[in-house]
């Protein structure tokens, strides 16, 4: 087993256990791991961004290939930094204007096309199919997303939810029934979302526990066993010290 793998296993196990210690209660060990996570993540992003953007996409092409045109986006980007100089801060508006204008221009038509027009087109599906000269067919299969029954359910769902968010008329009588139907569809949607969220969070727990089981192997030096004992011991000592020290009253 390579040395760096063993070190990696010990670091990963230790940090996992420190984070898990929060399940017992908030404590300095958890805080240490939390701050390390934030620091390492930000540090990594800064280094990778500097290396990719400044070194590989700006400096090298300009110096080695003479791509002078790159100085234009660099200049626009530099204008952002003028926000730190109050007298020149107005210049940063040009950079923001460029970003907002370009971003909106790129995003609006594509988003309208992809999320509004395409979804409206998919919602308004034929509720019945014509099959040659025999007449019409209606498929009742709930498990088939393209069935006619599902097309009707989607139509009812979309209409009732839209009506629920239509506040210009009072939700009474028939309107109340439609709004209630909308709430029902919303609840089902929230339930599905919550179910998937639980599944996702459990997957994360499974991922960490799988690693802890793997790192309890002798080839890694059993970091799971030793570091679990160390974490529990540290929590015990911290709890005892907390009991011995009188609360700080101001």
């Amino acid at each position: 087993m390579p040395f760096e793998m063993i070190v990696g296993a010990w670091v990963a196990t230790g940090l996992t256990l420190l984070i898990f210690s929060f399940l017992y209660k908030d404590n300095p060990l958890f805080k240490l791991a939390e701050h390390l996570y934030v620091g390492v993540s930000v540090g990594y992003v800064i280094v990778k961004t500097y290396d990719t953007v400044i070194v590989h996409l700006v400096v090298k092409p300009i110096v080695e290939n003479g791509e002078i045109a790159l100085l234009i986006p660099v200049a626009i980007g530099m204008l952002m930094l003028t926000r730190y100089v109050p007298k020149a801060a107005w210049m940063s508006r040009y950079a923001f204007a460029f970003i907002v204008g370009m971003g909106a221009g790129l995003a609006i038509p594509r988003t309208v096309s992809s999320f509004i027009l395409k979804q409206v087109e998919d919602t308004i599906r034929p509720l019945l199919s014509m099959t040659g000269s025999d007449g019409v067919t209606f498929s009742m299969n709930l498990l088939n997303p393209a069935s006619h029954l599902n097309a009707i359910i989607i139509l009812i769902g979309v209409s009732s939810v839209l009506f629920y968010f239509f506040f210009s008329i009072e939700h009474s009588g028939v309107g109340k029934a439609v709004a209630r139907t909308g709430i029902l569809f919303l609840m089902i949607s929230f339930g599905a979302g919550f179910g998937y969220t639980v599944m996702a969070r459990m997957s994360l727990l499974i991922g960490r526990l799988t690693d802890l089981i793997e790192f309890s192997d002798t080839s890694y030096g059993r970091p799971t066993v030793w570091l679990s004992l160390l974490t529990v011991g540290a929590l015990f000592l911290l709890a005892r010290r907390g009991r011995e020290q009188p609360p700080d009253i101001h």
Binding site: S41, Y44, T49, K118, D122, M199, S203, I206
Partner: protein, 279 residues
């Protein structure tokens, strides 16, 4: 905290949350240590991705965008491994990249590990282009000219010199594309700024949290398949016949789901029983 005179329902509703954590922990740990091997049924959305890759002729260009970072590793890493194994097995030309700067190192390690396992050579059979800034702008740039978005690969080799990219000028030359996304930019951006504009076939993979939001794209045919969370990864592992960490985690997933369902039912029973007692 429990107090004298409390009814059983009251005690249960005020139970120490750490007992629940312990229960969930045990429900996860025990099936991982002693797997039962519950059956895994393949859903049509996962099969959509598998079937499309299966239908690609040898040498087709397969683009995998690894749009996640280590925070979503347990769900998306097994998906990426399964997809790469399938693509390498089919002898596709595999182009990989990431739109997430925080996932660059992990993505490189992942691609290199699977390629080594499958005996594939960097630059000839596959390439990892790395990360380029801009998110959706990178996708548009790749649609116009791949070499302008990525002048060099992750190892600094000029992309124009890579044999694997022979005949590939832009996204229009991609046979199939899958984005494994844990947020933005991810599957939606690849559809909006990639597929919808440059007309290539694409599928998606995502975390469980994101899956309900992507089903409308699947139903309308905007993406032809969706691998959702660890469950989706397990289904894909089953399809390629190479069981990995996702399949191993399915027993634990089922056990924790059962525990949570039982807790929700019990909590409701105690709540209504308490309400009845109070009149």
């Amino acid at each position: 905290m429990w107090m004298a005179g409390m009814t059983f329902s009251e005690k249960m509703l005020k139970i120490d949350r750490r007992i629940i954590f312990l229960m969930i922990g045990l429900c996860t740990l025990l099936p991982l240590l002693y797997p039962v091997g519950l059956p895994i049924k393949t859903s049509s959305e996962v099969r959509g991705v598998y079937d499309h890759i299966e239908s690609l002729p040898e040498g087709s260009v397969f683009l995998l965008s690894i749009d996640f970072d280590p925070a979503s590793k347990p769900e998306l890493y097994p998906q990426a491994i399964a997809l790469l194994r399938h693509a390498f097995k089919k002898n596709l030309r595999v182009i990989t990249m990431t739109l997430w700067v925080s996932g660059t190192g992990m993505a490189d390690q992942l691609v290199t590990q699977v390629a080594k396992e499958m005996g594939k050579e960097n630059g000839t059979d596959y390439t990892f282009l790395g990360w380029s800034p801009g998110g959706q702008a990178v996708i548009i740039n790749m649609g116009q000219d791949l070499y302008s978005a990525y002048p060099s690969d992750y190892r600094g080799k000029p992309t124009k010199e890579l044999p694997i990219l022979e005949g590939v000028r832009s996204l229009k030359d991609v046979g199939y594309m899958v984005s494994l996304g844990a947020g933005r930019p991810g599957v939606e951006e690849w559809y909006v700024f990639g597929k919808d504009k440059y007309k290539f076939e694409m599928g998606g993979g995502c975390t469980g949290v994101m899956a309900p939001g992507l089903y409308p794209l699947l139903r309308s045919g905007q993406i032809n398949g969706l691998i959702g969370g660890l469950r989706g990864a397990a289904e894909y592992e089953n399809l390629i016949g190479k069981k990995g960490k996702a399949v191993a985690g399915m027993d634990a997933q089922s056990a924790t789901h059962l525990a949570i369902i039982a807790l929700v039912i019990m909590c409701n029973l105690f709540y209504f029983s308490l309400r009845q007692q109070r009149g």
